[in-house]
């Protein structure tokens, strides 16, 4: 439980106590007219009295009972309906059509309006209110549960259970319920809160059973006589019920906070904008430290909290080389790539790293790496790398800092697209209009657009089908060689690495593997080459 949830829970418990024990110690009945009108709090009337001389303390504690009872009953009815109907609709496509259209209809109208329609024509007894609220407020979470069931149904463990001939009830109880349980809990608390708020609002409007004490009704009593606002009496007539409603509703809201998805490693967006800098004359020290290496890493390590992702390691990547960084999942190769591109929070990185001769971390006073100008970084799936709502052209132009006018930018972008065998018209397309292979090429063009000297590519082809994958990769290698760029290729595909790379670096558990062990690893896990089986290639690939 989070701290805010604990606070919410604590406040709620206090009010439950008030509701249970308050009426036992109240000395008056809530509607007995036996006091002075508008009396201030005293020993007899602890919370004072209202205009009619009714004791406000007893109204307050009985009101707590009403409020919590209504909230609980509504939450029970509404949650049960949401869960059962959601499961049914998600699991049976026949019922789904019917239930879903009922839910849609109920959700079109704001629930307050719907409830007003029903409540204003009815007498407004407490149970009538409970049933109205309960029966009208299930659709929202029913739809969430339904959606959740629909997606769970496609999970393979449900399919497997069906194969083992588990019946529907078994699958719902054993496989689905654990997943939708958090939804049910949240729904319960939220409908509790909404019912409390709704009851107070309706009583305040004057709809509701006049013979049942409630906080909303206490406020209505005050506000139906506008004169009360002009005196000091609001301090005891208005403040207690207001605070009570305020506390109960916010406490429930805090308690019902659902878990936020997203991890602690959420990438920070707080990054500086790249700037076009005039070429600098390197000092002797810098030349010595960077030498001929395009990438130079010295005693670099990455630590997240108490977890060391990358243990201190050093390596150099020769300028103009294609270097493959391989390793199994969890070996830290992606972290390594992100580190080299300066995407990690500075405090997690120790040691030195230079890319294209520019320092990446803690480069105060020095010329630091300008992203996309000195180096570019492409990763994983080309389809998810492009913003789906922007035209490809726009996504090119915003990165093209070397060009100034729109016409210049467009010409340069078209030029680079032609290099990867794409038409200029691609600039006016949205990403979803292009095939995976085209997007892969477009991404490559985008990486080349500022002619950076270093390109870091993290599994750039892993999402593509075999034939397209080979095409895009060979194009990548060809362009890198043509432009005399340095490529750091991160991959888990051994045969790809062996085929294209001048040099291979192997990471294991955050350590760089020594030469001898690396050779042994490659020997052992290298897949059989199709060529060795006697197949004569018909097509000769470039690169």
């Amino acid at each position: 439980m989070k701290r805010s949830q604990k606070i919410g829970f604590f406040i709620l418990v206090i009010f439950v106590f008030i509701a249970i024990f308050g009426p036992m110690i109240a000395t008056h009945t809530p509607f007995a007219i036996d006091g002075e009108s508008m009396a201030a709090p005293s020993e007899v009337n602890w919370f004072g009295t209202n205009k009619l001389g009714q004791d406000l303390f007893s109204q307050f504690v009985y009101g707590a009972r009403t409020t919590l009872l209504i909230g609980l009953a509504v939450a029970l009815i509404s949650t049960t309906l949401s869960a059962i109907l959601g499961l049914l609709a998600g699991y049976s496509s026949k019922l789904d059509t019917l239930l879903n259209s009922i839910a849609n209809m109920l959700m079109v109208l704001p629930s307050l309006l719907l409830i007003l329609i029903v409540a204003s024509f009815s007498g407004g007894g407490t149970w009538q209110l409970i049933w109205t609220l309960g029966l009208l407020t299930w659709p929202g979470y029913m739809r969430l549960i339904r959606a959740s069931v629909l997606s769970l149904k496609e999970r393979e463990f449900v399919k497997a259970a069906q194969l083992y001939q588990g019946n529907t009830f078994y699958i719902i109880r054993k496989h689905l319920l654990p997943f939708i349980w958090p939804l049910i809990k949240t729904k319960f608390i939220i409908s509790f809160q909404a019912a409390v708020a709704m009851e107070a609002s309706l009583s305040f409007l004057g709809i509701g059973d006049p013979n049942v004490p409630s906080w909303g009704k206490m406020l209505q009593d005050v506000f139906s006589q506008s004169s009360t606002l002009l005196t000091d009496s609001w301090k005891w007539t208005v403040v207690p019920p207001t605070l009570a409603i305020l506390f109960v509703t916010t406490a429930l809201a805090l308690l019902g906070e659902s878990k936020q998805d997203g991890t602690i490693t959420t990438a920070s967006l707080r990054r500086k904008k790249s700037k076009v800098l005039p070429p600098v004359v390197c000092t002797a020290g810098e030349v010595a430290s960077s030498g001929m290496s395009a990438i130079s890493v010295k005693n670099l390590s990455v630590v997240y909290g108490d977890r060391t992702i990358i243990h201190p390691l050093s390596f150099e990547v020769t300028s103009g080389n294609v270097t493959a960084l391989i390793g199994e999942s969890g070996s830290g190769k992606t972290t390594m790539a992100r580190t080299l591109y300066g995407l990690l929070p500075e405090e997690t990185v120790t040691g030195e790293a230079y890319v294209a001769g520019k320092r990446i971390y803690r480069g105060e006073g020095q010329v630091t790496l300008q992203r996309w100008l000195d180096a570019a970084y492409i990763f994983q799936d080309p389809r998810s790398s492009f913003d789906p709502l922007l035209k490809i052209g726009k996504q090119f132009y915003e990165a093209m800092l070397l060009y100034h006018t729109p016409i210049e930018k467009r010409e340069a972008a078209a030029q680079i697209l032609r290099e990867v065998q794409l038409d200029e018209a691609v600039l006016d397309c949205y990403p979803h209009e292009l095939s995976g292979g085209m997007l892969g090429r477009a991404l490559l063009a985008l990486a080349l657009v500022n002619k950076p000297s270093v390109l870091i590519a993290d599994e750039p082809t892993s999402a593509l089908d075999p034939i397209v994958k080979r095409e895009v990769l060979d194009l990548l290698i060809k362009k890198v060689r043509e432009h005399h760029m340095t490529l750091l290729l991160i991959t888990h595909d051994l045969s790809m690495a062996l085929h294209v790379a001048d040099e291979i670096l192997l990471l294991q558990d955050g350590h760089l593997v020594a030469e001898k062990d690396k050779q042994r690893y490659l020997q052992r896990y290298k897949p059989l080459s199709i060529r060795q089986l006697g197949y004569q290639a018909e097509k000769t690939w470039e690169g």
């Binding site: 007498g123 208005v238 916010t250 602690i264 992203r371």
Partner: protein, 344 residues
């Protein structure tokens, strides 16, 4: 009121024709409710006419009784009553208001502009502020600024609107006397200068609009924040950041657009919620819009007026839903292009 909190994008997944069925269904449903509820539920006009329920006698004047008898045609058979009712709807004839003794349509027309004024102002304000703070909060996620903003808004979204209004009223109008206690303009304001009138209306406007804004703002903030955080974790955001375009450009150009797009529908639909919420807020501030009218009609059991108001509000909400359905595909290139492709 945030009864619907936690519901997102319900209508996006449905096809156009299905939507129309839903809207027609809702309209018929409300019409039937309007007809049957007063006749069937205990405490309805039938009980009312016979002198109240066991809850105690309700004072009914002879004139009121008579008006109600003619309005409901309670002496006719149910079927004839229903036909008369349907005919009334198609001719926009909702009958005479019992309280005002004038046609329902005219009574509503006088009050409607005030409600449109505060709901419109609150919609614009809450949308802009809600989206901006939501975006800011997501930008600072995870962190202390985000967390405290989130908890504040979560709390605010839970408080009933009338309570917010009441607190503002007591603090700012009753105690500090910065704003008037209620109404939409000062009665008999003696000034020929139009600016004085505008200022006067503006002064009366502030508290109701602020109240409606706070309630709606909190839920728009929560939706925007969640959506922005989700978008922030998308690979294309990381990629945009990797392009070296600077965090402001990433947030403005990529996060904001992608997060706000799915909210457009919800924001438009929420205007319906604000209309309903105006009942509470106008009651607190005695603001002479249709919300206050509705509350009075409920208390006075002015059934013809209630029918008219419910029908009007329903039609409003349905129109808003339709507008949302129409503008969404127009804004999302993915759907827009798919549509174009279908036509070819």
């Amino acid at each position: 009121m945030v009864f619907h909190f936690g519901i997102t994008r319900c209508s996006l997944s449905m096809s156009k024709s299905k939507q129309i069925y839903t809207y027609v269904g809702v309209l018929v449903f409300v019409l039937l409710l309007n007809f049957w509820l007063p006749r069937l539920l205990p405490g309805g006009p039938a009980d009312f006419l016979t002198g109240g329920t066991e809850d105690g006698a309700i004072f009914v004047s002879e004139a009121q009784k008579e008006a109600m008898l003619t309005y409901y045609n309670l002496n006719d058979s149910l079927w004839v009553q229903f036909l008369t009712y349907v005919k009334g709807i198609f001719t926009l004839d909702f009958g005479l208001s019992i309280n005002y003794k004038t046609p329902v349509f005219d009574v509503i027309l006088v009050r409607l502009p005030w409600t449109l004024l505060i709901v419109g102002a609150a919609t614009v304000l809450s949308t802009i502020i809600g989206i901006l703070i939501g975006l800011f909060s997501a930008w600072r996620y995870p962190g202390k600024t985000d967390r405290s903003l989130f908890l504040t808004m979560l709390g605010l979204s839970a408080i009933p609107e009338f309570l917010i209004g009441m607190i503002l009223l007591i603090l700012l109008a009753s105690n500090l006397q910065w704003f008037p206690l209620g109404g939409a303009e000062t009665a008999f304001l003696r000034s020929d200068y139009w600016l004085d009138h505008v200022l006067d209306v503006g002064k009366h406007l502030v508290l109701p609009v602020v109240t409606l804004t706070i309630g709606n703002l909190a839920s728009i903030y929560l939706l925007m924040r969640n959506e922005s955080i989700r978008v922030r974790n998308e690979p294309f955001i990381e990629f945009a950041a990797a392009k070296g375009i600077g965090e402001r450009a990433v947030v403005r150009g990529h996060v904001a657009r992608n997060a706000a797009l799915p909210l457009v529908t919800i924001i438009v639909i929420r205007i319906g919620g604000l209309l309903a919420g105006s009942v509470l807020v106008e009651t607190v501030f005695s603001y002479p819009g249709i919300g206050k009218l509705l509350q009075e009609a409920i208390l006075a059991r002015d059934y013809p007026l209630l029918h008219g108001l419910f029908l009007l509000l329903t039609v409003f909400v349905l129109l808003l839903n339709m507008i949302a359905d129409i503008i969404y595909p127009w804004l999302d290139p993915r759907i827009r292009v798919a549509k174009r492709g279908d036509g070819q």
